[in-house]
Assembly symmetry: C2
Homo-oligomer: 107 residues x 2
Amino acid sequence: MLSLAALADPTRRRIVELLAGRERTAGEIVDEFDMSAPAISQHLKVLRDSGLVNVRAEGQRRIHSLNGEGLDELSDWLERTRAVWSRRLDALERELRADDAKKKSSK
Amino acid sequence: MLSLAALADPTRRRIVELLAGRERTAGEIVDEFDMSAPAISQHLKVLRDSGLVNVRAEGQRRIHSLNGEGLDELSDWLERTRAVWSRRLDALERELRADDAKKKSSK
DNA sequence: TGCTTAATTAAGTTATTACTTAATTACTGC
DNA sequence: GCAGTAATTAAGTAATAACTTAATTAAGCA
């Protein structure tokens, strides 16, 4: 599952925002939401599977942290798409300028 | 619906990529996929509603184009999240350095 | 006018997703 | 060992999402 699909859900987005601030145990995350612990546990699994979040065990706690590289994947897609997009806009602009010049010279 | 949810679907992502290259009629987009016209029409509606794509009518054609500002919203979320994240990493690094200095001075 | 083409809307189906409660696993401290 | 706590897994449900075909809307053109 691509990280974009993982971020489609608003709860998961908020979890990512929380973890951007600092790492947290599963229980601490549960406390931030009006939702059962299993529901959060399932969301965390999706975030882990998508590579956005890392876990380490500390005793019986599972400490979750944001994985910056997971955000990179999303960032890369965005930049790739935007690059094509802005190249196209540049071409359009050049065309408009050329058109403009033609009009002037034909006056 | 936030643009992130709209981009969760791979078909919609490919449509956005296509439109980054150049604007296209609904029919041209349909031709790129192995899927019925109504299915694509519905995807286009989602993309329009999320602000990622614009349409204009030209006779009976609907010409779809990418809306750069829609991508900005996504980009903003990413940058905001990444900013919090990297601030945290900086703080961590400072802490480690301070710790290091303390160790050295206590030797 | 009526036939064709472009696109959307309507209605129904199936798969997936986001939850729930109950049960289970695994550590902690007495 | 066992009661308590942290977290996950299991199982079931309800809402949503992604499609399908059929019907509809609207423009183009002989």
